[in-house]
Every structure is written in C-alpha cells, then in structure tokens.
Subunit: 512 residues, 2 copies
Amino acid sequence: MSKAKTAISPTRAENYPEWYQQVIAAADMAENSGVRGCMVIKPWGLSVWENIKQHLDTELKKTGHKNAYFPLFIPVSYLAKEAEHVEGFAKECAVITHHRLEAGPDGGLVPAGPLEEPLVVRPTSETIIGESFSRWIESHRDLPLLINQWANVVRWEMRTRLFLRTAEFLWQEGHTAHASAEDAMRETKMIHDIYVTLAQDVLAMPVIAGEKTAVERFPGADNTFTIEAMMQDRKALQAGTAHFLGQNFAKSNNIRFTDKDDQLKHVWTTSWGVSTRLVGGLLMTHSDDDGFVCPPRLAPVHVVLLPILFKADNPAAILEYCESLAKELSALQFAGRPVEVEVDARDISGGEKLWSWIKKGVPVRVEIGPRDMAQNAVFMGRRDKPHKEKRGVPRDEFVATLPALLEEIQTSLFERALAYRKQNTRTIDTEAEFIEYFTAPSAKSGPTPIHGGFALSHFSGDEATEEKLKKEHGVTVRCIPNEGQLDGTHEPGKCIFTGKPSSQRVVWAKAY
Amino acid sequence: MSKAKTAISPTRAENYPEWYQQVIAAADMAENSGVRGCMVIKPWGLSVWENIKQHLDTELKKTGHKNAYFPLFIPVSYLAKEAEHVEGFAKECAVITHHRLEAGPDGGLVPAGPLEEPLVVRPTSETIIGESFSRWIESHRDLPLLINQWANVVRWEMRTRLFLRTAEFLWQEGHTAHASAEDAMRETKMIHDIYVTLAQDVLAMPVIAGEKTAVERFPGADNTFTIEAMMQDRKALQAGTAHFLGQNFAKSNNIRFTDKDDQLKHVWTTSWGVSTRLVGGLLMTHSDDDGFVCPPRLAPVHVVLLPILFKADNPAAILEYCESLAKELSALQFAGRPVEVEVDARDISGGEKLWSWIKKGVPVRVEIGPRDMAQNAVFMGRRDKPHKEKRGVPRDEFVATLPALLEEIQTSLFERALAYRKQNTRTIDTEAEFIEYFTAPSAKSGPTPIHGGFALSHFSGDEATEEKLKKEHGVTVRCIPNEGQLDGTHEPGKCIFTGKPSSQRVVWAKAY
C-alpha cells in the first residue's frame, strides 16, 4: 500500500507521541535542554505564547485586574501553612539550601553557605501572595483585590513532555480576595468564562467547561473549574483552571478585613491560571502530518511571501514586487493587530523554503514567480487545506480579502476540531461498554494505542469508583460540565458503576 | 527656621536613603517581602517596568532580535566552564540541592531527594544559552544569531535596596553570536546606543555613555560599555551594560561555525542587559520631597481627574462631566500609546485624594468642581512644578494641548536632571582637590554625607590606583566616556595620581 509523503514522520496514526515531538522540532518551537525537565522555548514557540499572553492580559486588565510580581522563593514555613496545599506540592519542588559555591576537596564546586530555612522555588504562589494580602487588606474598602502575576514556576516532574508537562513553565496566576463568598464565586466563574473565550476564540480550541470532582481538585480549593480540550489522540488536556478557595488560605494566612458592619472577618479568595501548556494544546489540536497549523489570531507571521527566483530573468523585479505587496499587507489589520508579513528571500531551494513555512504553520503562503508578477497576481495556499490545493488570485483581490480569509481559517480550524471532538465523544450507559471504549485500541492505531475518546456517562460521585477507574484504566472524570455545555448531559439518570441516582452525565477520558 | 511641609519625610537633604524608601512606599510601588532580599513589585511599580519593557522590546525587535526563553536552572558544571565568569558569580548564588520535602524527625519539613549535581538559579545566562548556541550554530548562514530573553535572575546580595539591588530582579538579557569581531563589536555598540536612547528619551534620565575599565568589567568580557546616571545624592548609578565577549564564551562553550572559506571557527559573542534597577534610577532621578515624579512616557496614568464633590449641589453632573472628559482624553495618543486617564471618584477627603496622586507621580492632575464645570474649564496642575502652581484652562484648550503638555513635561524632567548633573560635575586636576571633593561632606547634607558629585580627571589606567581609591574612598571609574559625550574630556593630559600621560579624562564617582 503506497502512502502519501508527509513532512512529519512518523504520522499521527503511526506514533502520536513521537509525531508531537517531531512537529515541534520541524516548526522550531522548543527543545529539551541539558537541565532535567526544563525546555528551551525557541523564538517561534515563544512568539505564540507572547500572543496568547497579549490577548489574555488585555482581557484581565479590562476586567480590573492589575499585574504585580512576587518573590520566586517561598520559605518552607509559608508553604506548610495550608495542610492540603503542602501535601500537594511538597513531593515535587526544587529546594534551595545554600547561597554560595566554593571549591570542594577534589577541586570541583560544592554548595556552601547553608540557609537557616530552606526555600522552595514557587510551584504556585498562594502562600507567598497570601502573606502580602494579609498586610495589604484592612477594610472592605480594600476589596476586591484583583491581582495577576506573569511568572515562571517549577514543579519537579519526573516524566516531562515539551510544553505539556515541564519542570519549569511560564504562566499567569491570578489571586483575588473578596468580601463575600458570592463575590469570590462570581470572580471564579468570570475567569472561567474568560478562559473559555481565550481557548475557543483565540486558540480555536473547543473546550468543555465544567467543575472538577473532589478527587481532581486543586490542593486547598473548595471548587475547581476547568476547561478540557480533546487532543488528536482523543486524550483530554486540562487547559486552564480557576479555583474558588473559600476561606482556606485566608485562614491559614490570616487575611482579614473590617466589614461594613465593623466586624473583623476572613476574606474569600480565588486563584486561577493558564500556562505554556496551552501552546502544547494548540499544537496537538491543529497540527497535521505536515506540521504545525497555527490559528491566525496567534500566528507570529500571518502571510509569507515566497519569491520564485529560480530561472527568473529578473529576480530583482520579483523581489521588488514582493516587497511592495508586503508593505501593502502590513498596513492591514487582523484581530486588533497589524497583519504580520514575511518575505523569504533566502537563497535555498524553493521546495525546502515552501516546506519550512508549511511546517511552521503560517496560515497563508503566497508564491510569486515571473508569471504571477506579469499577471499582477499571486499564487496562494492556505495552511488549513491540503498543501497542493493552491490557486491564483489577482493581487488587489488578495489584499482586499486577506483579513476575511484569515478569519475564515480561524473559524475553519475551530470547526474542524469541534467536529473531531464530537465524532469521538460517545454517550455510554453501561459499565461494560465504558470499559471496552477505553481499553480496545481502535483499528486505526499504530504502536500508540488509541482508545475511544470522551465518554458521557452518569456518575453518582463515588470516590472509590473514581480512584479505581483511574488506577486500573487511567480514566478520570475530566469535569462535571456546566449547564448548557453539552446537549442532553443534564438530565437525571443512574450511575453506570453503582446504580445510584445521578443528576447528570460527566465527561470521562484519559488525559495528559 | 520654619520649613515647608513636604509629603515625604524625611526630605532628600535630611536623609536620602530613607527618603528613597518613603517615596516608594508613598507611591505604592514595591515593598520588602518576607523572603530575604526579594521584593514584591506592586502594581504601580510593575506598570512602570512593563512600560519600559514595551519600549525596549519594540526597539530590539526592530533591530532583528527575537525573544526566546531558557531554563531558570544552570548546572554547576556549566557555570564552571568560563573561569572568570564562575569566579564572579559563585559567591552569591542560590543553590538547589534537593527536589522534594518530607517530614523530618521533629515533624517539620526537611529537604529530601538529593540531586546528583546541584543547580544554580541563573544569575545571568551566558553559559546556559551558550550551550544552546553550540547546537544551533553550524554555518555562517546561521549568523548573526540575535536572541533576547525577558526573565528573572537571582544574585544572593547581602545588602539590598528596593529596585536598586535585590536578590531576585527582572531584566532582559541579550545574547548574540557573530561571524567576526567587527560584527560583534558593531552589535555591542548598537545596543549601547539603544540603551542611551531608552534612558534619555524614555526615562528622561541623562546618562554618560562610555567604556568600563578592566577592574569594573563584566566577568568574562573583553569590553564592557555602560550608561551612568547621576542620582540626587550625586552618586552614580550604572543603568545598563553591553558586553563584547570576544571568543571567551565561544571557546568555553565550543560554539563554532563553518565560515564562507570552509574553515571551522569560533563565533564572537555579546551579551547585554537592563533590569528593574532602571525603576530605581528613575525614582532617584526625578522624585522630589513630595514623592515620585513619573516621566509621561512611562506613566501608568497620564492624567488623573479629581471631581470635587464636597459641598457640590449636583455631584452626579460633575462625575458625568469628568467621565465625558476622560473619554475624550482617552482617544488622544501620546508617544505611540493612548493617553491613560483615571477618574478618582473615591469617597475620601479631597486633600488625601490629591496628595495620593502627587505621591504617585502622575504627570497631570485636574481638579473639577462646580465652578469649573459651569465655565466649561478644568483646574490643572503639573507634577514637574510646585504643587500649588495650578491654573484654570478652558476644557477644549486642555484637550487640544495635552499631548504637547506631556511632551513638555518629559523634556523639562530631562533638562532638570541634566542641569543637576552639570552642576555637580567638576573638572579636577589635582589629587588633593579630588580627595577633598569626595570626602568633605557638603554644607547641604543632613545625616547623609553628600560628597561633591562626578569628577572628570585624567587617569593613566593604573589598576593599583583604581583599587586603592575604591577601597579607601569608595570612588570608582564609572566610565571612560565615549567621544563626544562630555566637552573637553578627550584632550590628552597627565594622570592626577601617577603623573603618567593620559589620553583623556574619565568619570569618577561614588556609586550604587
């Protein structure tokens, strides 16, 4: 059986995890470093993250949040204040014990200057920010306090994967304090909505929004809200979480305020974050066997112009045509920023050049040779379509319709991902079908076993069942979907495992 | 003797270091944290840094630099590769030795999971980025490689001061590789120029641009170029440095390329950075005894509107007038971004409200009461003038001239700082006068001894003299000024310490 040549080898069907690594390498987005579990984010990958950051930062500022910056280091005694929290993070943290290096007995450098109290590199900042909040907040007039931090954090992961799970990662973490439970819950849900919009409208990544079960909650939270996306191996990716922390951290950090009734009360807090993991989700959602496919709203470059100089009588004229077109396109706006155009005049083969941009995921490619120039036209290909599907377009028309074309590509990527998720989501009403769905590798799979996908099944909330399914099959409740998220999930029924009454179906899946 | 009441106590003349702390507290910009040497950067302070970052990032991208992100941790063996470099940083670094916490014998948490090789939290990233460069660079076609990183770094400082010297700080560090010494030197000097422009045109902070002596060079550099500013206690602040690293790091990291002549050669590298220290410099350059004075180009808020509601018959109408004015002002542009306007409708006393914005350094304050509204006018004060100097302006005129007014304030701050530096810079031709200049406290000084300022004196470059002056009087060569920087410094003469010939005067000062 012959197969079409692909730019990425292996293909998704052949070996999904390896395909993912190869897509990242081919798009030149990141690489493993010599430091265990830490990645180097290369310019193309960081640019995508910077664009995500730009979108989210704007939304957070619009809704009254202000950026601040807190220490990288957390004294162990701070971390220990909240019992569940420290339990959740103590097992995987970088511990600083010394503040100097000096020559050791064999001439090498050894740690010196022991610290009185060890410090931990922040895995998340509830405890250190809580310490500030306890000093900043005195009265109800200081509330709500709406703080966000863009920072790096470290969780000592044993098994890492570029962007999806790394020891150090970049993120934003929001921390807010409120005068009432209602206000804090309203904030948590508003952020949850902002994350849904970010994922769907900016990353073109469909998500199911819902609440986590107790087993899957953030250590120290009363409620955790999540957005869950389906990757192309049908696994779920938790793409962002917002936590209602009740008064847990307020009590452990002694964050109190004098209310309007002159009573001293503990505040109610929230915390929430998205990270460079989103770039991994983006890669796994849209990329194909030819490489990365970048949604236009996040693309570092929207349009690449490829002058075809090989055998051209007048290469300078073609370059000039490209530069003037680039200038015209750069004056256009798409989704609130100028259209980014690159002219690739490198002296390498046309095929190598073309494929380098396909693999990088640039939404629109334009080839310009002597004939296109003579006809005042361009020869255009879209990254969301097969690479051979190209067409000639008059230059003026191309310029006039480019923003609409980018919008169309953005939408088509979202629709395609949504259709994929729908195809691979099944309503399941018996335990037997459920187990079969998650254990029988599909006929399509190569060395990577690909299971069924998402299951929508009734569940009574029994924690022992949840732990058992996780342990035996690696299947977890991704979320209890919000009202209106998925048709037909909010009718009552019976738990398929225990037979107990269940108020709604939940989303089950294997997950990253 | 009676004295005018000031918002900041003590004043600059009374106790400069304490005044600085109080200015930061009054403007709510930063505070010391519970973690030794680490500060919390509060929203107002971080916003100033984000504006600096925005300006510089745009310039760096325009000149072909791309942002990337490298690991926070550096294995000790990497750091040890460059001998001078490790010598410079080993004495003050955070060392990670474990990756877990577990319950200790007394129930507290103790470090567990010892690492095979300790890691250092990056004090700067030459060695870790060099490791990547050695893999990324193969041929002359890969050069120049122009990378910048925005990151946090840690140097374990014993004596810290908010913004100016903290254990953790935020910065950008550029790292570039080139095919020739000339290219690398051209890059170093271009960045040096970009830093001068940033300091002078954006921070309104006059700087002297020049080269460091060997004694003051970055550990591992062949040449270090610096920008030096004068603070209001007449000390110098090193505000940004650009290093020509020769082939030192290329050799220690084995960064080689195949040149056009098919020979395998080591690259030539540069590195350069500015940090949150700039915010400290900004504060010390412009602030007065009433608090921070923020140059308009960096101001988080350009204009604050203060409705005077006390005793007003119709407070709602005044608020409406303010909101409509705010809307009109927000549509204006200043220095490439929309004018930022804030309406302060807090229910606190008018005086407290007014002074809170004076202390925060907002360039333009506008008070609006019933009479102003009736006359369709505003009552306006500029932060660069005494706070009592206010005047009524017709609303239309105020709107039409605001961008020009902001530009005028920007310029006046620069001119004022430059005049101060000139007043406190003396050409000195004898050792006796030199010593007297730096040791006799001026009549103006309070408990803070204030020395003369900058001295321009001939120096033959003798390192022993330099070390002696540093040790005995805390005076160092801030820089050998570039051609054209200071009138009359480039004529040959005789070293005032050794009598040896000297090709030019250098800048001497006490420094932060």
